[in-house]
Symmetry: none
Subunit: 413 residues, 2 copies
């Protein structure tokens, strides 16, 4: 059973709008066991629509089409669908009344272009759009379903959830897909691959493993395909257990939670709190922490000490420490973490000091050198990292590495 998505609209091709609809549709289809095997974005042109529908009909059973149904452009998708199916537009009385009621409720005059919304191809079933004036359309021909919906995300999503999914489930016999995703940190993609190569080689053909790298972390996703969801689940169990044996310490979450959320959950559960003293991360570490709703329950605050005098005067780093070792040093970052912890009276404190670049590097401390320290109720530890020469990525990776140091510590206690 193959699904495919066609998005219609010049704005997507020009890059003026980032297409979030098709990722959402991909996820939703996946949940009901349908695999999107092809996605395309085409322009608002008759030829492009006709040839895409034709190609899609040869390779897919379910074709989802979004866009091109607004009151200014509706002619093109709708009339082109008519042409494709050798059908014609007819007035749908129920849709007309719905459109009229919308305008009446908003005290707006009906334009001729709005009346046109009630004209639909004779051979389609209308998919009710309770959030807008453009109806969705369901066509079924030679075992293939063609589903056309407006491109406005909240209109499309409601139509899809309320009208399309039940219809798909009625008409098609769906296979099962089960996904389990694990987020890792601290090990590069190729090193992860090496460490789990035996596990990967031993996977049966119906279970796939994908590597999804991002800055500072890699997600691993297992996808199991079959008929019986429960059987797939129990097949995945020993594989997941094996994964944890191999690289368990690098897995910070199953699912999609950020590392700041994971750490936040543990702190909340233990009623512990935290402060930061940041230099090179410039507030980004605190930003990751405070992006999490409810973080005010465990995050007290931070002193960002870009200037050395702030490290000394506000955080309380000894001037001699900076004079002797420099601000980017184990001694300095250790003092930053332990002093802020005392000053802000928290259980934990993280501190960063490094050279984000592009300038400021030396032979001994090249751009990308970052010291990170963690102060706990019992001790303070520090680690040195080398994150390369891209300023933004060094900032991001430093903040993630700091959170990971805290997570590792919380695992021990």
């Amino acid at each position: 059973m193959n699904a495919e998505i066609i998005t219609i609209g010049d704005e997507l091709l020009l890059g003026q709008v980032i297409d979030t609809n098709s990722s959402w549709l991909g996820q939703e289809l996946n949940k009901i066991g349908l695999r999107v095997h092809y996605k395309s974005a085409i322009s608002d042109s008759r030829e492009a629509i006709l040839s895409s529908l034709f190609e899609a009909s040869k390779r897919s059973n379910i074709i989802i089409i979004t866009g091109g149904l607004g009151p200014t452009k509706d002619d093109i998708t709708k009339t082109t669908m008519c042409e494709f199916f050798k059908s014609e537009l007819v007035l749908n009385q129920k849709v007309l009344e719905w459109v009229q009621s919308i305008f009446k409720n908003r005290n707006l005059p009906m334009l001729e272009s709005n009346n046109q919304q009630a004209m639909v191809p004779k051979n389609c079933e209308v998919l009710w759009n309770r959030n807008g004036t453009a109806p969705g359309m369901w066509f079924y021909e030679n075992g293939v379903a063609y589903i056309s919906m407006p491109g406005v995300p909240f209109e499309m999503k409601t139509i899809f959830e309320e009208e399309v999914i039940p219809k798909i489930k009625t008409i098609f016999k769906l296979p099962s897909i089960l996904h389990r995703t694990f987020q890792t940190i601290g090990i590069g993609e190729s090193f992860l691959a090496k460490r789990i190569i035996l596990l990967e080689d031993a996977l049966p053909a119906h279970i796939k493993l994908a590597y999804l790298p991002a800055v500072g972390s890699v997600r691993l996703r297992f996808s199991a395909f079959g008929d019986n969801k429960q059987k797939l689940a129990s097949e995945l169990e020993p594989i997941v257990a094996h994964l944890y044996q191999l690289i368990g310490e690098a897995i910070f979450a199953e699912g999609e939670n950020s590392i700041a959320e994971i750490v936040g959950e543990i702190l909340t559960a233990r009623k512990k709190n935290i402060a930061t003293a940041e230099s090179c991360t410039g507030g980004f570490l605190a930003h990751l922490i405070t992006l999490v709703p409810g973080s005010s329950n465990y995050f007290i605050g931070s002193i960002l000490s870009y200037a050395n005098e702030i490290k000394i005067k506000e955080i309380g780093v000894n001037e001699n420490t900076i004079n002797q070792h420099g601000a980017v040093s184990e001694a300095c970052v250790i003092e930053m973490a332990s002093k802020i912890r005392t000053k802000f009276n928290t259980d934990y404190a993280l501190a960063t000091s490094g050279i984000a670049g592009p300038s400021g590097g030396t032979t001994l401390k090249p751009v990308g050198t970052v010291w990170i320290a963690l102060a706990t109720p019992s001790h303070t530890i520090a680690k040195c990292f080398q994150f390369g020469d891209n300023r933004e990525r060094t900032i991001q990776r430093s903040a993630l590495a700091a959170l990971e140091m805290l997570r590792q510590e919380l695992l021990k206690v």
Copy 2:
């Protein structure tokens, strides 16, 4: 001249990753006069890659392929490209040395899978990837260019800018397009459109205006199409002058510089410095400032006071102020800005305090209420904003609004 984009990767079809690469590519191709007329996303499968390349070669002159070049097993683009061109993989010594140097610099051992990165199809020209180990590849056959790049955004973007664009310009005769982009802040898209409607209606057919909205700001891009770049430039002059007449105060930059960069340039030129005292922005304001290389010349530091006791003890806000007016109040944010300015001994200081949500709102101060203050050598001002109920967007918009307050002040002096 038709361009098309093929993105390879199951994660895009599954919706686990939102494809931002292809929008970026659409914009960049547009800037050099190339129109993307088709985009597709396909799975990491040999058959899908082969048939997509074949279809694309029939309709496009420039085919951009991203993804599937990592060192892991699910990445099969390279061998499939070989098959498509009836070529074979050969070792590229220069790439091998590059990959080896990366691992050496990071003190990491080389794996066999990393060596594989240096194997490239015999018939391609290597596109240098200075941010990663997977090289890009340029194929040219029967007047069609096939350009394969890694899917990791920062690797792809650098390869595209430094290697691909110059090559495309050498090989293909491109029409002239002249773009001028203006970044605005503080006025919503539809209000902007209303204020410049006469200008927009009077544009000649060969000059287009696009609205590119982002969180907290809208970019306006004029694109003039023709043969003579100089003529286009002089045609745009009076239009731009008119634009400044209509909405000049909202334009913070021509081009792509961030508002933090614009403000940083002014501070640097005037040898002035700044500190921040943040509550609801949680470090994101400082992060925007410190993302700019060289910001350590004018950014001294910040106190992030998520807890009220930090506002009182560390920044010096009067306890009575918070008791009487609350932490999210004009009085509190004014004190935060003026106290941090004195404490950190800077010329300017910005302060934020608000309710980012999702909880913490009240009838009088609903979620999204944000107070921002600016302290200058002569006075302190504060403004109240309402940024809606999305936590992340409220944080982003607050930080941008704070920088815009500073920019407006710097314009006056």
